[in-house]
């Protein structure tokens, strides 16, 4: 085995491994408190490599990307979910999409939903694409809880509010939650298959429409991966503008969620006030960037639009206004006994649990796990911004609210720093033709780490793109955080995480 340093701003190495080494390395990194970021597969038969399983694991701030040839006729690989629980659903999805099996315990299908046959695997290159089957979805074998007075509450896939579809199965006694089991996959749209069929440079529009609230982060991670394969040098000004967009996206989502949390906690005033702040914030996006949610702003090679001096001044003063308004509202929220009574101690996720489950992003930081790509592996311009991690140890709704407030202030500071020292020059370079065989991009989105990995067979010009949403790690956290809480508190706890459905299902 030999490690190859990839030419990326991220500290990442790649290696081909065999089954024994795959397992041995995973055990070693597990013992060293490593974190599994993503596990996926690709059909590399065009390159003569058969089916391949990939994993990205971060250990002691070093990024390891390992690839394993799983065979051709009956592809298999050693499971990692016994070491890294975050791998469990990814292993199930891997079988649904590619038919690569592992020896893990849970073999229930995860994404398939009977949209295609149990012996069909859409991400295989020889999969004949037809319309989805119309047979009724088979009942899903939820794990049932038995006992005196235990009953089930089934919620979804259509929820009572304006949110995405997913199913929650609660086992309760009275109002107390004994168990929650999630059933996702309702919004699977075959993104990876779609991306296989289009040139890499054209995939950005689709990548930015996988999860609309994180479109800038998705498009950014996708662009980074493509730029690595194309050996494209992005102009500094474009890198700075990308960071500006990611931070603005973070603020927009935190404002919206703080409003929704106030609403679920019974303070309609907060919903109105934060809603107004968010609306004004995204109206600025519309005026300056052409889209209220920043879609299509980040493209492979750079960004689609530049900012002039007037726009820079406006964005700067908007940060000052926003921070003052948010601090004022935070004083009211922190001072509101009724709301704090709902927030404090609700939906608690202990630090040990968060670590064991491989939590990422703001949910991890609210449980005392210090992980933030902007600090641990800062790509330009984050390498000179000295981002401060917002860390809380409560692990409850109150802690996730506190992290969101602090991240708004910190992001506003970052935006002002970026604006004050914006490099001059072009904002877009020609991406050129794809040359390399591996590409990786990662962005600390507002939920957590978004990862895009490209594998390419240079001889046949075929490629595979895997896009990983932090919700893969964080959905299982919710199942643990709600235990012992009351069913009526579930919307509040759920909103405090606000995980992606479409980003997860893709």
């Amino acid at each position: 085995m030999s490690w190859m340093r990839l030419s990326s701003p991220l500290p990442i190495h790649h290696a081909w491994v065999d089954s024994a080494l795959w397992r041995a390395l995973a055990v070693q990194w597990h013992c060293e408190d490593g974190q599994l970021i993503a596990l996926w597969g690709s059909d590399e038969r065009p390159a003569g490599l058969g089916f391949v399983v990939h994993a990205v694991i971060i250990c002691a701030d070093k990024w390891h990307w390992i690839s394993l040839r799983a065979g051709i006729d009956n592809p298999r690989f050693p499971a990692l979910s016994d070491l890294f629980p975050a791998a469990a659903r990814q292993e199930r999805a891997l079988f649904d999409l590619l038919g690569i099996a592992c020896d893990a315990g849970d073999t229930r299908s995860w994404l398939r939903h009977d949209a295609w046959g149990p012996a069909d695997f859409p991400l295989r290159r020889d999969f004949t694409e037809g319309p989805p089957t119309t047979s009724a979805d088979q009942p899903y074998p939820f794990i049932s809880v038995r006992g005196n007075g235990v009953h089930e509450i089934a919620v979804g896939p259509i929820h009572a509010g304006t949110i995405e579809p997913g199913h929650f199965r609660f086992s309760v006694v009275g109002d107390e939650i004994l168990r929650l089991e999630e059933r996702l996959g309702y919004t699977h749209k075959g993104v990876a298959k779609r991306l296989e069929g289009m040139p890499l440079r054209d995939g950005g529009r689709l990548a930015g429409r996988i999860c609309a609230d994180s479109t800038a982060a998705y498009a950014g991670a996708y662009a980074m991966a493509v730029e690595m394969v194309c050996a494209c040098a992005v102009p500094p000004r474009a890198l700075w503008l990308r960071a500006l967009l990611w931070e603005r996206e973070r603020i927009a989502n935190h404002l919206g969620d703080l409003g929704a949390l106030c609403q679920d906690g019974g303070l309609a005033f907060g919903h109105t006030q934060f809603g107004l702040l968010k609306e004004r914030w995204i109206q600025t996006h519309g005026r300056l960037f052409g889209h209220r949610y920043l879609m299509d702003m980040i493209v492979p090679g750079g960004v689609a639009r530049d900012l002039d001096a007037t726009a820079i001044a406006l964005l700067d003063s908007e940060c000052t206004t926003l921070v003052a308004a948010t601090r004022h509202l935070q004083y009211i929220v922190d001072d509101h006994a009724g709301l704090q009574e709902r927030f404090l101690g609700t939906g608690r996720l202990a630090e040990a649990q968060a670590r064991a489950l491989g939590a990422v992003g703001l949910a991890a930081r609210a449980s005392g796990v210090s992980c933030d790509l902007r600090v641990s592996a800062p790509t330009p311009p984050y390498d000179i911004l000295n981002t401060q991690i917002s860390l809380h140890h409560g692990g409850d709704v109150a802690a996730r609210v506190a992290v969101r407030f602090e991240e708004i202030y910190e992001s506003a500071r970052l935006i002002r720093t970026l604006l004050a020292a914006l490099p001059t020059g072009p904002v877009r370079a020609d991406c050129g033709r794809p040359e390399g065989s591996l590409g990786l991009g990662a962005v600390e989105g507002w939920r957590g780490l978004i990862l895009v990995a490209v594998t390419r067979a240079p001889d046949t010009d075929s490629h595979h793109v895997h896009i990983h949403d932090p919700s893969w790690q964080n959905w299982p956290l919710l199942e643990h955080a709600v235990l012992g809480d009351l069913v009526p508190d579930f919307p509040l706890i759920n909103k405090s995480f606000n995980l992606a459905y479409s980003g997860h299902d893709q």
Binding site: A115, P122, E129, Y186, L276, S502
Partner: protein, 167 residues
């Protein structure tokens, strides 16, 4: 508490948004535009996400903020299809959402209307039909009004609702 009340007074009541009153019609495609004769001017709307990327949902949520104030034109989002006059559907209808969408449609009492919101629901977004996606909403349930955009702006959605309530 006094800070809260002062903030409410300071924010005041925002000027009524022009949309939904006499603004120009958006280019929404309506086949049976007028519901007013059947349902009066207040509409109860049940939203169904049939596989959207969440962009259309963000704009539906934005309609409830103080700037657009959807309730001011008599439109209310409700929790059950049984309480609804209108089914508001987003997304390219994934296979897994076909049956839930049909069930929700059947649960809406007559007379009812279906609004397809956004380019995916109209069948012209980035999510074209494939092995797991059926495509436009009208392949599953009949659609009365389709609102373009990726996602449609709140103004466009407000104006489209206004075409439904206009006598």
């Amino acid at each position: 508490m006094h800070k809260l009340l002062r903030q409410i007074l300071k924010t005041g009541i925002l000027p009524r948004h022009p949309c939904g009153q006499h603004g120009p019609r958006c280019d929404a495609e309506a086949s049976k535009p007028t519901l007013a004769a059947e349902l009066g001017r207040a509409l109860a709307v049940r939203h169904v996400d049939s596989g959207s990327c969440n962009g259309c949902e963000l704009e539906i949520q934005a309609l409830g903020n103080a700037v657009y104030n959807l309730a001011a034109i008599g439109v209310r989002l409700v929790a059950s299809p049984r309480h609804a006059d209108i089914l508001l559907v987003t997304g390219p209808v994934t296979r897994a959402m076909v049956d839930p969408l049909r069930a929700a449609h059947e649960a809406v009492p007559d007379p009812k209307r279906v609004v397809a919101l956004g380019d995916c629901a109209r069948g012209c977004g980035v999510y074209t039909p494939n092995y797991t996606t059926v495509g436009a909403v009208n392949r599953v349930v009949p659609v009365d009004l389709a609102i373009p955009g990726c996602p449609p702006s709140p103004e466009t959605i407000l104006e489209a609702f206004a075409t439904l309530t206009r006598p």
